[in-house]
């Protein structure tokens, strides 16, 4: 089943918390956002939703068009797995973490 087909099947979607770190937090002025996302979500879906919720993230963590993540940021699901281009299945209560892709020191 393709991701698009899964999107079409998922009508209501899920509400998730997105925690922000680094410059993303500073430009948003808050540590976290609440987003409504499809339960099968790709990195691009997350980026588009973030661009709407907080336009200041464009050019900081998101592309200026707001359609994708900048290379310098990454999205992690619940502190365990990284959201990739091919998508991830979200459950109610999930948390996404938006932080720098440059790990460590």
């Amino acid at each position: 089943m393709s991701m698009m087909q899964r999107h079409n099947k998922a009508s209501a979607g899920v509400r998730v918390r997105v925690e922000l770190f680094g410059m993303a937090r500073l430009v948003c002025g808050c540590p976290a956002l609440e987003l409504q996302l499809h339960d099968d979500t790709t990195l691009a879906d997350v980026a588009r939703a973030l661009a709407i919720a907080c336009p200041a993230l464009r050019g900081v963590a998101l592309t200026t068009e707001g359609t994708g993540l900048l290379e310098s940021y990454t999205v992690n699901l619940n502190g365990h797995t990284f959201v990739t281009e091919t998508g991830v299945h979200l459950q109610p209560g999930d948390t996404l973490l938006l932080f720098s892709s440059q790990a460590g020191g």
């Binding site: 770190f21 680094g22 900048l70 310098s72 502190g79 720098s100 460590g104 020191g105």
Partner: protein
Amino acid sequence: MFGYHGKLLRIDLTTQRTTWDPLDADVLQRFLGGVGLGTYLLYTYCPPGIEPFDPANPLIFVGSPLVGTRLTTSSKFAVLTKSPLTGCIGDALSSSFLATELKKTGCDALLVTGKSPFPCLLVLQDGVAAFLDATPYLGLSTTETEHEIKVRLGRQTRVACIGPAGERLVRYASITNDGGRQAARTGPGAVMGSKNLKAIAVHGTHTVPVFAADALQTIGTSLTQRSLGPATEKYRTLGTLANTAVFNRLGTLPTHNFQRSTFDSTEQVSGETFHQRHFVTNAHCANCTIGCEHILTTIDSGPKAQGRLEYESAFALGSLVGVADANTVIRAATLCDELGMDTISAGGTIAWAMECFEKGLLTAADTNGLVLRFGNAEALLECLKLIGARHGIGDLLAEGSHRAAQRLGHGTAAWAMHVKGLEMPGYEPRSLKTMALGLAVSTRGACHNRSSAYEADFSSRVDRLRAEAERGRLTMEGEDFSAVLDSLIWCKFLRKAFTDFYAESAAIYTHVTGWPMTAAALQQAGERINTLKKLFNIREGWRQEDDTLPPRVLTETLPTGMVQGIGLSKVDLDMMIQGYYHARGWTTEGLIPEQKLHDLALLDLVQRFD
């Protein structure tokens, strides 16, 4: 010769004799420069089995073929010696103008042995050495020392010096250059102090031509452009301090001497908070376009302190010792820099002492009256001063957590958080399993930088909470990558700016030196360098049981945060270590087969010096 002088300058402080030795093309190509060439020189010139404070222990400063070019981040040097903290190979990197000035004095490496009969300021002018009386500088901080020497010898002079901690042989003392840059881990400043060498002042006029200047400029321009892009965004904005809040959220922020991996007061000492409230400006090393240094200042009514702050210092003098006051963290890091000592080992050793105090194994009678409890900011600052002076409890803590625990006894070694004597960095190994392996097998002790094994844990490549034998290969690859990075020497923060690190670095090496170099040969050089580091440790008494982690990591599970209940068993660690030995082609005992030495062109070297 292009890129290199082909010369080693040896100076014996006892006899004040200067010797120039040739460095053959074969050696330079096999070991590159920096940490690699330094490892070769240490293996060659360090008499086997000597004590680190023996005058015969060489203190080696090594540049690289890239030093003196305009390549971004290329102004770096390595310092190598037998570590007084670990008894193993000690290597540390530093940056900026001293690197270029050392090369301009006419050598690729400076090797200092002996012990001066008087406190010495070694002056190198175009390779000519003068031995001046450094008595006027004794007791001065690193900043004061550098300032006074520049007043005396001229502003163009570049200075490497030790502070009071190095003079008193604090085993994790640093060597400081260019206004606060530190070669600190593994304690090279203590070896410098043991030689009665307060400072080295360098000035030179020699230049080294590069082989293909136009080609080098083309690739250098491209690299500079990439250094300003997304690959370095974190370092240019919040710096490594951005780690703190993320690590806390992921349960990887060592807290209260590794008793847990989350810190309730993280927000007060996070990178975001430092940036909003304490940020003054960004600063650059010489020849660097990234500008990762974040200069921070105190904003309370206490004594003013201002300086650069990195995550490792902020963790070691923050969550690790339970201190949640950002002003104190800045003050403590600045104090370490001025005294000239490694922030990680200082914080790690004090954290051990705090746990001893809270468990009643140290009392106020032992600690000069300090109530050495987690979170006591004033006690932290006073303790650092006592260590720098080796006064009272400071004399014990100046030995590092491993030796201090041995001396105090009563089971306190169970929470001395070190590997091979080197205090642990700010990565909780139980919730970062690849990093756990990297820390356990590192030739440097508990070092995150010589493997960068955490990179796998912070990626989609692995499940960071699960131990697997395959992590051995990832750790080996990270070590070999780092060895090349640290030998050419590139700044670690540039590493993601390369499209193909080995191929681009090989091309650059050829443009600089004129010698053919391939990506595969460069990668093999990384393996060769790491193998020779291990050979040095074996020669100096390494045992298989030294490749391990502190007892706490292997017996206690993490109690808080999203990693609550996560641990690391000795069985799992040993399984990963065997995976590492296997990936390296070593025996199950961690020894290196003769065929491997032959394959890496190390056999002759080993046979010559063993």
